[in-house]
Amino acid sequence: MKESTLLKISLCFSLIGVFIILIIAETLEVKQYEISSITEKEVDKKVKIVGTISSIVETPGLFILDIIDETGKIKVVIFKEDDLGFNKYDDIEVTGKVIRYKNYLEIEAETISLS
């Protein structure tokens, strides 16, 4: 095959592919959970929760928040990149992956925003 034909094919497929990936990324909305409904089944899944910060603990490398809603409480782990920027009693929305740490379930935060 000629290089110029190959280039056209590569460019076409790249553009179409990138476009499809963007659409998938846009439509893959993360499901919102009540805290008590997060169980072993959700480990390694991405979830979204909305709740209030009931405590903040800082360790080297991490922030650990306790988040409560009407149904329960869960720990949210944030890897330090910068200052936290949230205070106790703020209402926040967290998306992240559910992980098991020792015998507890925690959420490893990916995005956090005020709700």
């Binding site: 280039l7 460019l11 790249s14 990138v18 998938i24 893959l28 080297p60 490398g61 330090k80």
Partner: protein, 398 residues
């Protein structure tokens, strides 16, 4: 105590050999496994020995990961920029020299960084907050320089933006290891496909001494150190970004010098991540996150221990990498490289599908097409780093 430390180092190095040589198995994967199994591990091993094993693995990995990158054309994000020059050496029969050059970079990069640690600690304490604000601009400037310096500016810009949009999309997909399909496609499979298309046969590999002069080596190591210490402490940046910054400050560097540079960067960035945890309390990669999670507060004594461990690991890994490389170079000249290329492509496709699912496979295919463009247009492949640089710039600015 000493015996325990040595056993931990040996276990770490063995893990580093496994993660370094197997495409797609990242050290973060082992670190996360160690974290989840820590309750069981802690019944048999002390916290310190688990940490030492993890650190040894991380350092050993930065030495060994050049072997698959040189002989198989399968890169880590960290080594991907060296694929092109080292693949060329492989096809000239000097695959082993490419590994030697990268190992030289890793070893001396590590020694320089350890000796510069006091200086790094002082300068980071004072300048970190100031430099941090300028990082998006440093990245924009250095990417612009790379694009403007290329013979074909229009296509370089297209490649940079296209890979950037691809990176943004892929990083927001819910993949367990988004960079694996992205980089295996852009830098791995595309290289293998081109060498299949060009019908290249691998010549008999020579085992000979290095042919690089001291001036080139010093220049590569110096630039590697400066770029890595910029990128190593800052949020969102890693080896790949350090490589972009470094390729701007080096000026003209031969392809051998460039391999030394890339070889030094991932090791230096790893050592700096230990220092960063101590000085600015930030975990800069997956292994350090796990170390800080299970180890708690880190003091000066820990840092000295980690650096000492790194020294020992570096010595052993240099020996192991060179010996394994000799073995690989004997084997690759005997086998039909075309068949091997096809086998590796199948291996990558299976690993990607296994680790990241069908969505990852789709990302791999698209990334392969994106990776073919610079090869067909003969532009620098570093523009594809837009896939990491553009998301970081947006993340830091927005």
């Amino acid at each position: 105590m000493i015996l325990e430390v040595f056993i931990a180092i040996l276990i770490g190095i063995i893990l580093g050999i496994i993660t370094g040589l197997t495409p797609g198995v990242h050290i973060n994967l082992v670190a996360v496994l160690a974290l989840t199994s820590f309750p069981i591990l802690s019944e048999y091993f002390s916290v310190l020995s688990v940490i030492i094993a993890l650190i040894s693995m991380a350092v050993a990995h930065t030495f060994l990961d050049f072997i698959p990158s040189v002989y198989l054309g399968v890169p880590d994000p960290d080594t991907s920029l060296s694929i092109f020059p080292s693949h060329r050496l492989l096809f000239e029969g000097d695959g082993h020299e490419a590994v030697q050059l990268a190992t030289l970079g890793s070893l001396f990069g590590l020694v320089i960084t350890i000796f510069m640690t006091p200086l790094l600690i002082i300068s980071v304490r004072n300048f970190y907050p100031v430099i941090k604000q300028y990082i998006p601009f440093i990245l924009i400037l250095s990417s612009s320089f790379l694009i403007l310096r290329d013979r074909d500016r229009k296509w370089s810009l297209i490649e940079f933006l296209l890979s950037g949009v691809l990176g943004l999309g892929v990083l927001s997909l819910d993949l367990s290891q988004p960079l694996f399909p992205l980089f295996s496609g852009m830098f791995g499979i595309s290289t293998l496909l081109m060498s299949l298309k060009n019908n290249t046969n691998l010549p008999t590999q020579n085992i000979k001494d290095l042919s690089i002069n001291n001036k080139e080596t010093f220049k590569a190591l110096g630039c590697g150190f400066i770029a890595s210490s910029l990128a190593g402490f800052l949020p969102g940046l890693g080896s790949a970004q350090a490589a972009i910054i470094a390729s701007n400050i080096t000026g003209k560097l031969s392809s051998r010098g460039f391999i030394v540079l890339i070889g030094s960067i991932n090791t230096i960035v790893m050592i700096i991540s230990f220092i960063a945890l101590y000085v600015i309390d930030r975990a800069r990669n997956g292994v350090i996150v796990v170390v800080s999670k299970i180890g708690g507060v880190l003091d000066m004594n820990h840092l000295i221990l980690f650096l000492g461990v790194s020294f020992v690991v570096a010595g052993l890994s240099t020996f192991l990498t060179l010996e394994l490389s000799k073995l690989f170079s004997r084997v690759v000249s005997k086998i039909d490289y075309k068949k091997v290329s096809i086998l590796i492509i199948i291996l990558i496709i299976s690993l990607v599908t296994f680790i990241t699912g069908l969505l990852g496979l789709f990302v791999l295919i698209v990334s392969t097409f994106v990776g073919l463009i610079p090869m067909l247009k003969n532009t620098g492949r570093s523009h594809l780093m837009g896939s990491l640089i553009i998301p970081v710039i947006l993340y830091l600015l927005l």
